[in-house]
Symmetry: C2
Subunit: 218 residues, 2 copies
DNA sequence: AGAACATTGTGAAAAATTTCTCAGCATTTC
DNA sequence: GAAATGCTGAGAAATTTTTCACAATGTTCT
């Protein structure tokens, strides 16, 4: 029988705070590191120290999804990694489309080169006729106008936008039109997408500006 | 006379929420866009719509720093841009040290190439003897062991870490030792720094994992 | 087997952040 | 010049997120 709270709502459907999701990824990183060092178990306090996050926060974050620890002992790291991976959908392979085969696109394709933890770039797109037909890392570069046609075959759900600011919205529109559901955007613009499409911005300029603020306020 | 609140605290020293600082950067981006289009003034509602942020939030964010609008009219964009830039310390030039002259480092130096909005990469460092002595964009590549010596001259306060995970902590330690106060970290690790040093993480893996979660939870 | 111990999971309290609301004030209109 | 309008700034309310505190529980030691 399913566990329900007083309101009769399935506990697993309780809204999970966005910050929790982001921390989950940090925990994962920490757990992987510990396991690489040969550690088998850890307490919430140990993980908290290493991630700089409060131990109660860690336990609360996990509590949105179930019970994964053993009182008196802590958490089995192999087990916990598997669970968090599952929660985050990392047990499935994600095919990624990259738009923009410039410097940044190239660095990204290198970085995520060969199936980096469940993500694999399956195709790159650009407007530059000189790049079309070539390959970047192991994946072919197509003209952006072919995006719809090619993703009808590939069915990738994730897109990465690494084009200049002025081309970003158009790139996103084409990605969404081709069926992409989630987008990582490196261009420094606020993108407009229809509800249901997930966008995350990785804006270098913005990051530097925030650094600048804290630098100054000392 | 200075404005003080009930507690007798200088109003300008009231703690500003971190999310506010991050949004300030988004407003700036929006304002720049509007000004490029020739727009002279805008209301909080207009800026809110374009950034996807609540209008009251926008006004509240600004209120931590002063009064910049005109009732009935809105905000003078040139004026507002100048004020926010000032608040974020963008009226001063920041010299940046880049550690890691690989793919990513290269893309970054290209991106921030020629004094990108107040930031200028003044030197790059790497361990690879083949790279040392060459230049990346317009800046020289030195061996990482020379960091302390060279930054004693340059006095850069901002560092960018674009090295593999395993080398990141060491790179950070050297940056901090050389006097760097703020660090933008691209390596997927939690870095340890002494209090007072500002670190921001731009973790591609983490971003992708968060996307994956939202992709799955639909 | 029982006592001592370590650590989880969670309800409740506290803190932080966002959103609402509206008085007050420039600007424009009549 | 008075009235209407549009929009700001900020106190108050609502919401979200974090932190606290402790009962419950598995483990280890004697």
């Amino acid at each position: 029988m399913k566990i329900v709270n007083e309101a009769g709502v399935d506990k697993n459907l309780l809204k999970v705070p966005q910050p929790t999701i982001e921390r989950l990824s940090a925990y994962l990183q920490c757990i992987r590191g510990l396991r690489t060092d040969g550690t088998l178990t850890a307490s919430s306090t140990e993980i908290a120290q290493r991630t700089g996050i409060n131990a109660a926060q860690f336990r609360k974050d996990l509590s949105y999804f179930g019970e994964f620890g053993t009182p008196g002992l802590g958490y089995d790291l192999a087990d916990l990694e598997a669970h968090i991976s599952r929660i985050m959908g990392l047990d499935e392979q994600h095919d990624v489309i990259l738009v923009g085969a410039g410097n940044l696109g190239n660095a990204l394709s290198q970085y995520m080169g060969f199936e980096h933890r469940g993500f694999r770039i399956v195709a790159a797109f650009d407007v530059d006729a000189k790049k079309v037909g070539q390959t970047m890392g192991s994946c072919p570069i197509y003209h952006i106008d072919e995006l719809a046609k090619i993703n009808a075959q590939l069915n990738a759900q994730v897109g990465v936008v690494a084009v200049p600011r002025t081309a970003a919205q158009e790139a996103v529109d084409k990605l969404v039109a081709s069926g992409v559901q989630a987008i990582l955007n490196f261009a420094p613009v606020a993108l407009l997408v229809r509800p249901g499409i997930v966008v995350r911005n990785v804006d270098l300029t913005s990051q530097m500006e925030v650094l600048s603020y804290y630098l100054q306020s000392k």
